[in-house]
C-alpha cells in the first residue's frame, strides 16, 4: 500500500485521466495537456514498453522529448527513447524500460519557438 500512497501524493498536482489506462498531465505553465497511455498497460517492471500520447494544443512544429529518472537514485533509464509522430498525429515513444522498482519521474518536454514546457508525472513500480 505504500506504493499506492506515494502515487496518490505524487499525482496531486494537476493530473487526471479519462478512458481506462489514459492519464492526462498539464505542462508546468499550463500551456499543454498531454494525454498518454502505455503499451502495455500498466507499465511493466523491467520490460520494454511504449508510450502513446497526444499534446493539446498540437502544432506541426512541436518538438517532444521523453525521459524517465529515479529521483532517489539520481539516475535514469539506461536507454534513450525515440519519439516519432504516428499517422494519426499522436506521438509514440519507443525504447522505454524502467529497470528498477521504486519511484520514477516520467517527463515529456514540449518545445515550440524556443520555449520548452515540461509535463511530468510519477510511476511507482512495485
Amino acid at each position: 500500500m505504500r506504493g499506492a500512497c506515494a502515487a496518490v501524493l505524487a499525482l496531486a498536482a494537476g493530473c487526471g485521466g479519462s478512458e481506462a489506462g489514459e492519464r492526462r498531465i498539464a505542462s508546468n505553465l499550463g500551456t499543454y495537456t498531454v494525454s498518454l497511455r502505455s503499451i502495455p498497460h500498466p507499465i511493466p517492471a523491467n520490460e520494454p514498453f511504449e508510450l502513446v500520447f497526444r499534446v493539446a494544443p498540437d502544432a506541426p512544429d512541436l518538438a517532444v522529448e521523453v525521459d524517465a529518472r529515479m529521483p532517489q537514485h539520481f539516475h535514469g533509464m539506461n536507454r534513450v527513447p525515440r519519439v516519432s509522430r504516428r499517422p494519426d498525429g499522436s506521438f509514440r515513444a519507443e525504447g522505454m524500460l524502467l529497470h528498477m522498482s521504486g519511484r520514477w519521474e516520467l517527463t515529456i518536454d514540449i518545445s515550440q519557438g524556443g520555449r520548452t514546457e515540461r509535463a511530468q508525472t510519477d510511476v511507482e513500480l512495485p
Binding site: 500500500m1 496518490v8 525515440r82 512495485p126
Partner: protein, 394 residues
Amino acid sequence: MKRALFVALFAGALAGALLFMRTGPARPASGFEEFTAEEVEAILSHSPLGPPPPDPTNAVADQPGAARLGQMVFFDKRFSREGTVSCATCHDPAKGFGDGEALSTRFPLDRNVPTLWNTAYNRWWFWDGRADSAWSQALQPLENPREHGFRREHAVRLVRADARLRGAYEAVFGPMPEGPEADRPFANLGKAVAAYERKLLSRRSAFDVFAEGVRARDPAKAGALSAEARQGLKVFLRAQCRSCHGGPNFTDGEFHDLGIAPLRGGPAPSRHAGIALAKADPFNGKGAFSDRPGAGAAKLDFLAVRPESWGQVKTPTLRNVAKTGPYMHQGQFATLRAVVRFYSTMDGRIASAGHAEAILAPLRLAPTEAAALVAFLESLTDESADAGLLKPVE
C-alpha cells in the same frame, strides 16, 4: 484502518489520477502472520521463475540437437590453441559454473568468472554487458588470446574433420560449408553453445516451494523455508535488496556501481565501454549472423552511454548464489557472509569515478539478521539440475 481512510480520502479526491498505477491481481491473504500483505506481494513477485525468454536472434535456441552440439563443444578442450582449455575449464559445473576463484590464477583476466546458471535470462552478457546474446558471448572467449586463444577458422576446421561433431552440426544447421567462409559456421557454434547453456536452469529452490505455499496458503509448503531463512527474507525485503535484485530471477539485468574497491587493474569504465563494444560486435543481434536482426536492433538501438554508466557492472542473479562464490565482479568477497557484511557496514567502499548507487547506505544489521540474510540467500539454491547437463555428452 487509519491507512485505509487515508487512501480512501485521496482516492476520492483524485479519481482517475491513478490509472497508470500498477494494480495487479488481488493479493492473496498469506495466512502467515509474520508477513504483511505488502511483503507477500513482494515475495510472490520473485516466484515462480518461468522459462527463459525467447532469443529471436538464435533460431536454434530451443532445439535439442543444437543443445547437444553445444554441450559437446562446451566440454571439448580441442577448441583452444593448446588443446587444454574448454568452456568448462572456467565454467566448471562442480563450482557453480564458475572457477571458484576471485580472479583466475590460470588466465590473466580481471573479472570474476560469472556463473552460467540462468544465463538464458540475461539481457546482457559479461560483467560490462558487451555481448547482447548468449551466442555472441560464447564466441568471444574462444578467440580471446587470454582464454582459449583459438581462431574461428580452426574451430570450423575441427568440426569439419571430426565425424561426431560434424554429424551433430549438420543435423542442426545443414551441410558444413567446405569453403574458407568461417564466420557463419562459427556463429552457429555459438548458437549451439547458447542452446546448451539455455538448459542450465535454477528455478526450483526452497524459496520457490515456500512461495507456492504462501500463494496457496499451504503451511506444509511454506515450511520449506526455515525460520531463520524467513527472517532473512524479511531483512531482504526491508533492506530493499530487490531494488536491483528484483523479479523472479533476482536481478534487474542492468548495471550499477556499488563503490567496491578493485582487486586488480584499477577502476575500469565497465558498462561505459561495454555499450560501444556490444554495438560494434559483428556477431551482435542486429548483425549479419542474427536470425532476426530487427529484434537485435530493438535492443541495441536505444542503448545510451550515460555519464553514470562509468564503472557500472551487471547485477548478477541470486539464484544458486550459494554455489557461485567468490562474489562481485572481481571476487572481492569470498563468502556470502562477507557480502552481507559489506552491505551492513559499507566498510571499504570507495568514492566512485562514475555514479555510485545513491540509495546505498549501511544496513547496520544485527549479527542474527546478517546470519538470517545469508540463510535466505542459501535458500535460493536449486538442487534439481539434470546431472546429464553437468558433464560431457556421452
